[in-house]
């Protein structure tokens, strides 16, 4: 297993290299990153010249790529276009944990609820619960994230206005004086609860459907029938024998989802004003800072690669039939 993990990580290096080439040449193909600055009378020719020198913009693209990779590896992705004194990696280091907190919370809760719904739907196939869960899943798939976010904000604001009870906060990461230790984390949870609910809905729908389909396949298999025939309680048959095998596709999907959400929760984070990867990327896009955009894309690509490896490892752990050389 260790050999397998090391091999997968080594395979990731050429993948990351290919990703970096694709990212660099795609982003630079958009055009001169200084095009708008050159037209803006507030920026002197000296500033433009300084940036061109600093970012080697007058060199051939392949040379620029080499400098960019060097900056990424040895200089924390270098500095943004207009702020030579700061490092892009320092900003990424700030925003990544915020996104991780949100995604972790949303995905873990979505997994627990989604798996439970899927298992029960499969066991009680064609019951009222099954139909209700199916309807809920389709609603979850169809509901726009931004609309749901606004509805939840309005709901909890109205609860506060009517009963003067603040259950959850509608924006921000923390209160002004969140305290420390457990108080800090309770405050953080209260701020992340609504964004997590927003993200969870689609994931619950997805995991519920996957789990249901997978469970239905497994509970009708021969070994499960054998376990029942042996006289095991239905609960043991379901949870000990069927569930573990049925989890395989769900675990795979959730690991990949997790990686994708690191860079994919843009709308949710922007609406709820969470200082995460989403708003950081949007700001860079609006400011047309190609170097921040490229760094962000590399981090997102790395996250997806890492979580793919985790998915494969978990796959092998859950299903002992799978052996990695």
């Amino acid at each position: 297993m260790v050999t397998y993990i090391v091999r997968r990580l080594l395979y990731s290096i050429p993948v990351l290299f290919a990703a970096s080439v694709l990212i660099f040449f795609t982003v630079t193909a958009v055009g001169d990153p200084l095009a708008n600055l050159k037209q803006n009378p507030l920026f002197s020719q000296q500033t433009i010249h300084n940036i061109q020198e600093r970012k080697h913009l007058n060199d051939p693209l392949t040379t620029q790529y080499a400098y960019w990779v060097k900056d990424a590896v040895t200089n924390k992705f270098g500095s943004p276009l207009l702020q030579p004194g700061t490092k892009i990696w320092n900003d990424l280091k700030r925003v990544i944990p915020h996104t991780l907190q949100l995604v972790l919370l949303a995905e873990i809760l979505a997994l627990i609820v989604g798996v439970a719904i899927g298992v029960y739907s499969a066991i009680r196939q064609y019951s009222i619960f099954d139909y209700a869960a199916t309807t809920f899943s389709f609603l979850g798939f169809a509901m726009p994230v931004f609309w749901l976010a606004l509805m939840l904000q309005i709901l909890f604001t109205n609860i506060f206005i009517k009963w003067h009870v603040r259950i959850f906060y509608t924006s921000g990461l923390s209160s002004q004086d969140p305290g420390s230790g457990i108080h800090f984390w309770i405050d953080r949870l209260q701020h992340l609860a609504i964004p997590a609910m927003t993200l969870m809905l689609l994931s619950i729908a997805q995991y519920g459907r996957f789990m249901r389909a997978s469970m239905l396949e497994v509970i009708n298999s021969d070994y499960v029938r054998t376990a029942r025939a042996k006289g095991l309680p239905e609960r043991t048959v379901t949870l000990k024998h069927a569930l573990r095998n049925a989890l395989i596709p769900v675990v795979t999907v959730s690991a990949i989802n997790f990686g994708a959400l690191i860079g994919g929760a843009v709308i949710t984070e922007s609406i709820f004003q969470l200082d995460g990867m989403g708003p950081y990327f949007l700001n860079a896009l609006f400011n047309q800072d190609a170097y921040v955009v490229m760094a962000w894309l590399m981090v997102s690509a790395t996250a997806i690669i890492i979580f793919n490896v985790i998915a494969d490892v978990l796959y092998g752990y859950i299903d002992p039939r799978i052996r990695y050389d």
């Binding site: 095009a35 708008n36 037209q39 803006n40 009378p41 507030l42 920026f43 002197s44 000296q46 500033t47 207009l82 702020q83 030579p84 004194g85 700061t86 900003d91 700030r94 925003v95 915020h98 606004l150 904000q153 309005i154 909890f156 604001t157 506060f160 206005i161 003067h164 009870v165 603040r166 259950i167 959850f168 906060y169 509608t170 924006s171 921000g172 990461l173 923390s174 209160s175 002004q176 004086d177 108080h183 309770i186 405050d187 949870l189 209260q190 609860a193 922007s270 609406i271 709820f272 004003q273 200082d275 708003p279 950081y280 400011n287 047309q288």
Partner: protein
Amino acid sequence: MHRSHFRLMLGVLVAVTSLIVAGAAGGASKKSTAGSVTFGAEQEPPCLNGFTSGCNNTWTSWTAGIALANVMIVKPDFTIKPYMGNAKVVSRKPFTVLVTLNKKAKWSDGKQVSADDLIFTWQTIVNPKFDLASRSGFDSIARAVKVNGKAVKFIYKTPYAPYKVQFATYSIIPKHALEGLDFNTVWDNNYNNKAGQTMASGPYKLQSYTKGQSLVMVRNSTFWGKRPTLDKITFVFRTNTDTEIQAIRGGEVDAIYPQPQLQLAQLRGQSGLKVQTNAGTTIEHIDINTGAGNSSPLLGQAWFRQAIAYSLDRTGMIKQLFSTLNPGLPTLNNLSYVTAQKGIYVPHFAKYQINNKAKRLAKVAAIMKAHNCTKGGDGIYSCGGEKASVRLGTTSGNKLRELAVEIMQAQAKDAGIEFKADSQPSRLFFPRIAANKYDLALFAWVGTGDPAGQVDIYGCAGDKTADNPQGYGGSNWKGYCKPGVTNALKASDAALNPKARIKLVNKADALMANDVPTIPLYQKPTYFVFKTSLKGLVDNPTLQGPTWNTEGWKAG
């Protein structure tokens, strides 16, 4: 129910109840304390050194910028008054301004705000090594003479009428904290001196800045003016309008100052909230490209531009856009002054506002007929084979502007003129305007209430070059050049007598009202929403913004 199911449900119930109880308790204790205000800022400063091009943002000066005081201040009625000092003309030849500082003015590290700081501020602003957003006024100073520890005489190269605006726009920076440092990179995330102490001359000083989240200002105990009542003002960044609205409704913030959007109207009826709205200094207007680059030669004719102006019911459009947000928002009828400037503002463009639709259409018809234009089967005029069809563009994504374009298209069509929508995102729109590749452009200038620099926008007094043979002003993207207008505006920048200056500016405005290179529409309203428990908050629609008088704020 199975016992394990029961235990699971009980556990979930306990967890949720704990969160609610913690929230309720936390919510109660997290209300604004008697001495603090939480302000929802609609934009986060890109960095804190508001002088530099990369950091130049209104919210920089409205948040952290309250730590750095100016010599003068623009009041809500657009008058300019002394603040941390005073600036007055002591000689006309050569033009000399004496700037004096309040004797009590000192920095938060205990050192006096001094004449050396005034001179250092000037030297920093004019230093070509530093990439600054603007040097207006300071680049007109030839030399500075220190009179005493608290006074400097600035001798200008030529008379500079808007000197008060200059000293109301730029903060004074501390020499002892910044001398020798690279101003392009300093004060990105703090206002520290070389010993790491935060510097302030204003009522509040910067305590902390958490990027992406908040900026905390605390009372500056060395402030020279009235002792600020509040202990703390926290600016939290809420860049989404809907989120801002829910935050103020739910009491998560105590005040917001959003861009006017239609959904803000719901806050007017909310109990516990007060709304102040004024006509601001963001001048929404339509520029007309009278020269090369337009798609219709008709735009080069003053009569056609007048016909366009007559075809628009600007008052009706403003009512449609702002009846819920700011019911009393007036139509703007002057290109240089704003409606609040009583005795100065002259509505030269009011003649184009005909409220009665039939009369309005008849007026346009009369102009078109007088120039041998005939209506086609589609109801659009044709003049000498040239169809009265032009492009009207604005910044796409801005709902109010897009609505305005739709309204004006309908109005113009009724009058027989076609406006073809031609909007683009701002990053594409503005370069196109600057390259003169447009017909009609709806956008805004952000003014100060002072007409300084208008010759740049409407004149042709610049250097004549191969690329710019007419010498159009740096922001004159209309191809408009009238010697009468240029001379009047140029003279106004040097006119030291305020009455003479107003007369010159209005003379230029009257000429432009006949030529119509631009059609003024309205001043974008400001929208200040805050809890009724807060006292002392007064909207300032000038560039000073809502935080102009934080020393007078009180939390109930």
